[in-house]
């Protein structure tokens, strides 16, 4: 549900499963810049929770605190009820972390990478071999298991990056923008893997700035911008924030910026932002307002196409922050 400022709490509805991750009022500053402000949410067993926000919104800083990589200025993190900080060795073992940057050793093979991290996480020696084989199969790397990873394609490295996070069968899997820079085929494979893991009962925290991924994977989504969670809920709950509003996309040429300014003054138009090749609008009762909107737009630009889009998370983000996710 929509939240105000940094007053996020955990008193919202729960989905009913046992809580795997619980964050309370996390905050972090770097010098004068406050990167995370009072972020809080929870994730239940078998639930996939998405942090949706543009680059620089504070997603990575938030999950760095959740993983114990960064110390917190304020707030608390609990994994299955146990408090976590940068020194919580036992609690950290419950987390599988997949960083945004590729975190694999290029001079080791895929199997050696998996074996190293498996041992580091205390996977029993008698199980390690079979688990490595399982992960290699899941990630589609069985055929290349014994090759050095510096010869892998970007997609293969990404899949191994995720596989390392899965090897010790964590209760909570944290994926930080795992599909950035990945080809469509590998991307689809990664999303399918995440869906399957969630189906097997793993709690998943998934950060992304791709609306489609959040809509496809996540049971609940927290919309984050400038270090704050602006709203949180299921897709349906979030879209309901828009009320009877529609997202209207205009393809246009000419003075698009001025057109956006003038359209934004119209009644029933919540927001109007210009972009390359057109404008994005959030409009109440779009079918009634469209003629007036086109008339105003035509005064400074030439409209070449109109599309009224069913409300989605992109539109929610636009309404809450006044800017597009890709900004």
């Amino acid at each position: 549900m929509e939240r105000e400022g940094a007053t996020t709490t955990l008193d919202g509805d729960r989905t009913g499963g046992s809580v795997v991750l619980e964050c309370r009022a996390l905050s972090k500053s770097f010098g004068d810049r406050q990167a995370v402000r009072g972020v809080g949410f929870h994730i239940d067993q078998g639930e996939t929770y998405g942090l949706l926000g543009p680059n620089g919104a504070g997603k990575t800083t938030a999950i760095s605190m959740i993983c114990g990589l960064l110390s917190r200025d304020g707030g608390e993190v609990f994994i299955e009820g146990a408090r976590l900080d940068t020194k919580s060795k036992h609690t950290k073992a419950a987390i599988g972390y997949v960083p945004q940057e590729l975190a694999i050793y290029p001079d080791l093979s895929a199997r050696e990478n998996l074996r190293f991290f498996g041992k580091l996480y205390g996977v029993p020696a008698r199980e390690l071999g079979s688990r490595i084989d399982d992960v290699l199969a899941i990630t589609g790397l069985s055929d290349r298991a014994d090759e050095r990873t510096d010869g892998f394609s970007g997609g293969m490295k990404r899949r191994l990056n995720i596989g390392i996070g899965l090897l010790h069968r964590p209760r909570l899997l944290i994926l930080d923008e795992p599909t950035v820079g990945v080809d469509p085929q590998s991307r689809n494979a990664i999303l399918t893997n995440v869906e399957e893991l969630s189906g097997e009962g793993m709690a998943v925290l998934y950060t992304t700035h791709y609306m489609e991924e959040a809509e496809r994977l996540c049971d609940r989504v927290g919309i984050i911008d400038q270090g704050e969670i602006k709203a949180e809920g299921t897709r349906r709950e979030l879209v309901a924030i828009l009320g009877q509003r529609d997202r209207v996309s205009l393809q246009a040429t000419g003075d698009i910026k001025r057109a956006a300014q003038e359209i934004s003054h119209l009644p029933s138009v919540d927001s109007a932002t210009d972009r390359e090749g057109g404008l994005d609008l959030i409009v109440a009762e779009a079918s009634h307002q469209l003629p007036r909107i086109l008339q105003v737009a035509a005064s400074t630009a030439q409209v070449t196409g109109v599309e009224v889009i069913e409300p989605d998370l992109e539109a929610v983000f636009l309404k809450l922050t006044g800017k597009a996710l890709r900004d």
């Binding site: 770097f30 990167a35 990575t60 800083t61 760095s64 993983c67 114990g68 990589l69 960064l70 940068t86 020194k87 060795k89 036992h90 950290k92 073992a93 987390i95 972390y97 960083p99 940057e101 590729l102 975190a103 694999i104 050793y105 290029p106 001079d107 080791l108 050696e112 190293f116 991290f117 041992k119 580091l120 996480y121 205390g122 390392i164």
Partner: protein, 398 residues
Amino acid sequence: MRGALLIATKDLLGSLRDRSAILSAVIAPLALAFILSAALGNADEGSLDISFTVVDEDRGPVAEVFVGDVLGSLERQDVVNIREESSAASARRMARDGDIAAAFLIPSGFSDAVQSGDHVELSVLTDPSSDIGAQIATSIANGYATELNAVRASVGTALAVKGARPDPGAIRRLGRQAARAETPVAVAEAFVGSREFDTKTFFVAGMAVFFLFFTAQLGAVSLLRERREGTLARLLAAPLSRASILGGKALYTFVLGVGSLTVLVVSSQFLLEANWGDPIGVAALIIAGVFAAMGLQSLVATLAKNNEQAAGYGAVVGVTLGLLGGTFFPLSQAPGFILRLSFLTPHAWLMRGFGELSGGVAGVADVVPSLLALLAMGGVTGAIALMRSKSLVAVVAR
């Protein structure tokens, strides 16, 4: 501890595969030492390849002392080669032909004359082309003559003090006893500062110490590389303490440093005939030297922002201190202020220690000053590096 072992093993495996580490830790120092000793070596051997001949026509006790004790002692120390000739003519010919650097001629009646206080000459025939050999021969002869004169003066003084009238028989008897007595001033090794290496061992030791400081930065540099490449974030997210991460990197560097120096010492003994001396002392110096190098290079790495910068800073420190610390030239040839400055470097202490041992006479007790200096340097720099390591073992804040 388990985490540290895993990290160290992983890094060592990487280093074995990455041939550049082996190249800089073992192959390069050995190759450079070989080239340098081939180009500049044998200086010590060439300068001391001196042969003398002695013609003893006297065969008396004073001549025996000169031939057996004075010249014999120098031959036993491999300073000169001595051979006896029966005739003065053949000795003169050999000196003229350059077969020998000098010939000593001890005339018949030499011992009696000395014991009687009569004038007598010990002749030295020199090869004009052998300046050094001629000077050494003249010095030996002068030294012995001076000693004999002192003994004769002592005998004369002793009789005068007793108030006895000089009796030629007593003079002869006392003179004979004095001549047979142990030489009052023994020829012995004398060192100013520390003992010196032979040329081959010097270059091997110098290159080994020089490159050790490049090997010693690999752990700290690899930690910074892990931070840049994102694997440090994964290590920090694992159930592992920061101390384990640092310990793993330190263990990796220590094993690599000790291993590479040990391989260098052993291989140079066979390949270059280097003479390292007491193995226990050498082992103690290797451990202390690696410790000092790790401390210094870890501290340097904490000043860097990334692995490339750390490698650059480490190289500057390694080359500068290596030159100052006498890894390329013997410090005995350096001006006094350089010599004094050099002892601020771990390189100089390590070279001094290896130099002490290389003669084959000294043991671990003789290198205790070097060991203490190296451990102190490693301890101080390592402690500062540890205090500054918090920023090193952390993800880069976004």
